[in-house]
Every structure is written in C-alpha cells, then in structure tokens.
C-alpha cells in the first residue's frame, strides 16, 4: 500500500496550493462576508487547467489521475470551501456524468468547454419534495417527437447563477418509479428555463445556490443523457463520485481550521505564555490532527478505489460520513480554542465551522451515508 501521491501528482497539488495561498485564501473572508461568487478563482483555475483535472486530453482535460483531482479539491478547501465546491460541482457532478454516459457529440459539445473552463457546470436533482427521497421527482420531461418538453423546478442548485451547462433529472414515465427517471442536459439561456434567486446560507456563502424553473422548456432530443429511464442510476453513480469530492472538501476545511488554530495559539499569550504551551491546547490539537489524518485515509482509499475502477459506493459513503463529521467536530473545537476571537467574524474560525456543516448535508446527508453503508453491510 502506498500512502503518498506520486511526484507528478504532488507537483500539481503544490502548484494549486501556491495559487490558493496567493489568490484564494486572501479572498475567502470577503467572499463569505459579501456572499460573492469566487469569480477570480473561477477564471484562474480555468486558466490553470483545474476545471478538467482528470478528464482525457482529447476532451480538453488535463489527463491527470483522479487522486490528483481529489488532492487539488482538498487543498482549495483548506483555503476557501466555497472555491472548492465551485470547481467540484462543475467537474464531479456535471462533467463526469457527461464523460461517463454522454455520446461522442455530447462530449465534444459539452464536456470539452467544461474541461477548458470556458463553461461552468451544475447538477440538478433536488426538488422541494424530493431531497433525500430523490426518487420523488416532480419535474416532467414529455416526449414531443422532435423535442423534449420540460416542466417543473429544482432547488439548492450549486453554481446555478454562473453555470452554462446543467445536468438535470426528470420523470419520463411516472408509472415506472425510479426506472421512469431520465437524465438530460440543458444550456443556460434556453427559452423556458430560468435560474431564480440566491439562497442565503449558513456557510459556503459565496457559492451560488439557486432554484431552476422549467416552464414549457423545449430541449433538443439529443440532450437526453444516457439511456431513457436510467436517470436515477446516473444520479446515484454521479453522487458516489461527488461524495469523494465532498469528503476531500471536509478534510480540507478541517485542516485549514487546524492550521489557523495552530498559528493562533502560538501567538496568543495568556497567563504569561503562548496558550500553545498549555497541555490542553497541545492535546486538543493533537487529537484533531490525528482524527483528520484518519479521515483523510478513508478519503484516499475511496478515491483510489474509484480511480482503479473498483466498487466504491460504500467506501465513498464511509469517507464522506467520517470526513464530514470530523470537519464539524474539528472546526467547532478550533472556535473553542480561540475563545472570543474564535467567535469573532474578524477571525476565520467561525467561518470554517459554518462551512464544515454543509459537508454533512449536501450530496447525501450523513444519514444517507449510513443507509448506503448499512445497505452494503446487509448485502454482504
């Protein structure tokens, strides 16, 4: 077993860290405070080739390993959780299903500009009454012979206001339940398709989260993604990958909080010495780092399995469950270590804590991860 990145992978991760230190970290507080989409990083990461890290070069990707992508996502989240999910919602949730299930024409038309970063992607499954119970899709796609007619709405869609290409799901045959759900691609600006509002959130506040409204929206027949009736499977396999990404984001947030806390406790003097000199501080941070490293190993195990083409749904669920809960625990403890300053919005600790919480919720709540893990255990 190898527990390290190759030299090549490490070079790319270090490269993105250098960028994150100079360009992403310094804007993280402002992006959070003003609920502003990280437009500079969206452009910068595109120029660097980070919007298509693990896709083949023939589709404009960088042709790197999946592990590299996970390392990049983790590093970005260490400095700004919002920036990290902006990249991943496009890459894991929109580019990947098109790469995996799309026709050659769809790959040329949609995947290539996503990989180059010319266009930004989004994924739309959740509806007001279809959250964890994702099979309860109310959005309908009617076959009108030469086009699909879409009606319905989606909520909590990441990147929505800035995305150009959306992978979304709709009922094509209500009678068939989950086998009546199909996946489609819709482009921004399509008549009858509207992106509405901005969800005010607890954390990742710079991330664009909006509602999608389809009102007699006509989309071309060739925008069906994958086979008719296979949408639910496409959604679930896409989310398996997305969960590895969210686990990476969680580890990054937790590590970022520890790094900030370590710097803080070495400077903060109480009772005549830096609080780092107190054993409680040392033990707290030691526990946190050990937990984060343990979570990180679950993350890398899941990423490695995905990269190797092995079954990994349960591994992704375990990684996301543990990484997300670790991030929430660690960031909360970092707030406590910094005391009043930890609670102040002038310091990054409370932001890390707010950002961490979403990793327990999106792309399947922690409860969903437990369902996946126990389902796998029951079937063994």
């Amino acid at each position: 077993m190898k527990f390290h990145f190759s030299e090549e992978e490490q070079e790319i991760i270090s490269m993105v860290e250098d960028y994150a230190i100079k360009e992403v970290g310094p804007r993280a507080q402002e992006i959070d405070e003003e609920e502003r989409f990280p437009i500079e990083a969206r452009e910068g990461l595109a120029e660097m080739g980070m919007m298509g890290v693990y896709f083949p070069e023939e589709y404009g990707g960088a042709g790197m390993s999946y592990l590299t992508y996970i390392g990049v996502a983790e590093k970005l989240a260490e400095y700004c959780a919002t920036t990290s999910i902006m990249m991943m919602a496009s890459e894991s949730l929109c580019a990947w299903p098109i790469f995996q299930y799309g026709t050659e024409e769809q790959k040329q038309k949609f995947l290539a500009p996503l990989c180059s970063g010319e266009k930004l992607g989004a994924f739309a499954l959740t509806e007001p009454s279809a959250g964890t119970d994702a099979a309860m899709q109310k959005t309908v796609a009617a076959d009108k012979g030469d086009h699909w007619l879409i009606n319905g709405s989606k909520i909590f869609i990441t990147n929505a206001q800035y995305a150009d290409i959306f992978v979304f799901f709709a009922m094509t045959d209500k009678e068939k339940g989950t086998k009546g759900i199909s996946a489609f691609i819709v482009e921004k600006g399509t008549p009858g398709f509207e992106v509405s509002g901005h969800e005010k959130k607890m954390g990742i506040r710079g991330s664009s989260t909006s509602e999608l409204i389809f009102n007699d929206c006509k989309i071309p027949k060739e925008n069906l993604l994958g086979e008719l009736g296979k949408g639910f499977k496409i959604a679930m396999t896409t989310l398996d990958g997305g969960r590895v990404g969210v686990a990476a984001q969680a580890v990054g947030i937790a590590q970022g909080a520890i790094n900030d806390a370590l710097a803080y406790v070495k400077e903060r003097v109480q009772f005549g010495k830096p609080i780092w000199k107190f054993q409680n501080t040392q033990f707290q941070l030691a526990d946190m780092q050990a937990k984060v490293d343990a979570a990180r190993l679950l993350l890398y195990r899941a990423a490695q399995a995905k990269q190797d083409g092995e079954p990994y749904s349960h591994l992704a669920a375990m990684a996301k469950l543990v990484c997300a809960e670790t991030a929430s625990d660690v960031t909360r403890r970092c707030v406590q270590l910094a005391g009043g300053y930890g609670y102040s919005r002038d310091y990054p600790f409370e932001r890390h804590m707010r950002d961490a919480k979403i990793t327990e919720i999106y792309e399947g709540t922690s409860e969903v991860q437990r369902m996946v893990i126990s389902g796998w255990m029951g079937n063994k």
């Binding site: 090549e8 490269m15 910068g44 660097m48 980070m50 960088a62």
Partner: protein, 256 residues
C-alpha cells in the same frame, strides 16, 4: 529572437528569518527555496515579449547548487523552454557575474545561438546588492538598461521603459544587451497543469565552467538588525498640543 533569463534561487522572503546562535548565521532551513521575485518579473516580461514578437526561445540559467534545478523547473512551466544550472565557486556579485558571462559563452556554443537580450532581476531578495546584471553587461561588453517596467521590440533593437525616482525614461538600445527588471504593472503568470507536466520532461543542462574570478567580498560576521525600541505615544487632547509635545521632545533630543 534568443532570450536568456538569469535567475537565482533564494529563501522564501515571506518567512521571518532568525539567526541560528550555534552557527551565528541566518537560519535559512525554515524558508522554502523559491525563484527570486525580481527574476520572476524578468521571466514574465521576457515571456510577454516572446508572445508579442513570436518565433523566440527563452533559456533560463542559474548559478547555484544542484537543487537550483527546482527553480529552473519552475521557470520552464511559465515561459522558458530550456534551462541550465551553472556550477561555480561564486559567492559574491563579481564572481557570479563572471560565472554567468562564461555560461553565456558556453550555452551559445552548445546551442549554436547568440543571445539578443539577457534579462536579470534588478536584485535578489536575499542579498539585494543589485549589481550582477550591470557587471554581467560589462563582462560581455554590451549595453545595459536597468530597472525596466516594460519592453518593446523596435527595428533598431529594443525600447525600454525604465523606472526612476521621478518617473520614467524611455531608452532605445541596440541588441545584444542586458536588461534588469523591477516590478512591472502585471503579476507573473501561474503555471498550468499542461505546462507543468511539459516542464518535467525538459532536461536541465549542467555547465562546468572552470575557474571564475576570486570573490572580492568576504563575509566577516553576521549580525541581527537591532530591535526597534517601543517608541513614545503622543495622544494629547488637540492636534496642536500633540504637535507641540512632539516638537518639544525632538528639541530635547537635539534632533531639531
């Protein structure tokens, strides 16, 4: 056009360096080696010039130890396409300039080219003597323009925008020449995954140049800068009273 960019690997200057009491020298182990900031500006300016005129090659050279190859590799991902590290016993500006001049001749011979412009950063962020570029021009017997913030190719050679304390000079100079670069209005570009991967495949040449002129500077001792005293806070009720207090103190200290 053939362009050479001379770079130096320096300790990361964003790290607070302290003296090591055991060696009585600055403890540089805590600072990651990076490319000198002014050299990154020089490379960016060279790369923009190359993009503007096309059909040019940028070579980077560094006098330094084996690990200076890391710095060269960094440059190969952001514009340069060839790189050389020069092994020489050069510890001060005069010996470094001599080593570079000899390296220029060696590279020109090896590649079968003549360099039209040699870019240097105006100074290094570690020693900050700001002399190597000018000395190199002297050794090569070519003109030099210092403190550039912009460069343009013209028929007669180049037009250089030089920053001065009062403003700018526009200087036209024939090639070959040496230019030294200060902070321009733009930032150096970031590498891309593709350029980074391509850079990994470029072999970095090693140059043995034999003896160089003996260093003229010997380090006698290292000393930490004195710590600043806390100072005096003046916070009288009115601005006038504060001013009067400050002037009084300066008079008492006999600085006025």
């Amino acid at each position: 056009m053939e362009i050479l960019v001379c770079i130096k690997q320096v300790p990361d200057d964003s790290v607070n360096i302290k003296m090591n009491p055991a060696t009585n020298a600055p403890d540089l182990d805590i600072a990651t080696p990076i490319v000198n900031a002014f050299d990154t500006y020089a490379l960016e300016m060279a790369t923009r010039l190359k993009e503007a005129i096309g059909d040019s090659t940028i070579t980077v050279v560094s006098v330094g130890p084996d690990k200076a190859k890391d710095a060269i590799k960094t440059c190969l991902a952001v514009g340069a396409s060839k790189g050389y590290v020069v092994k020489a016993d050069a510890t001060d500006t005069i010996s470094t300039a001599d080593a570079l001049a000899k390296a220029v001749a060696k590279i020109e011979e090896a590649e079968g080219v003549k360099f039209d412009i040699i870019f240097c950063g105006k100074e290094s962020t570690d020693c900050a003597s700001g002399q190597v570029g000018t000395m190199l021009a002297e050794d090569l017997d070519v003109p030099v323009v210092t403190n550039l913030v912009d460069i343009e190719k013209i028929d007669a050679g180049i037009s250089a925008k030089q920053e001065t304390e009062e403003g700018y000079n526009i200087i036209e100079v024939a090639m070959p020449c040496v230019v030294t670069v200060t902070k321009p209005e733009y930032e150096p570009r970031y590498p891309t995954i593709k350029s980074k991967m391509a850079a990994r495949k470029i072999p970095i040449g090693e140059l043995e140049i034999g003896d160089v002129v003996a260093p003229a500077v010997t380090v006698v001792a290292n000393a930490e800068p004195p710590k600043k005293a806390a100072g005096v806070k003046i916070n009288e009720e009115t601005l006038e009273e504060s001013m009067a207090m400050a002037l009084g103190m300066m008079r008492d200290a006999k600085v006025l």
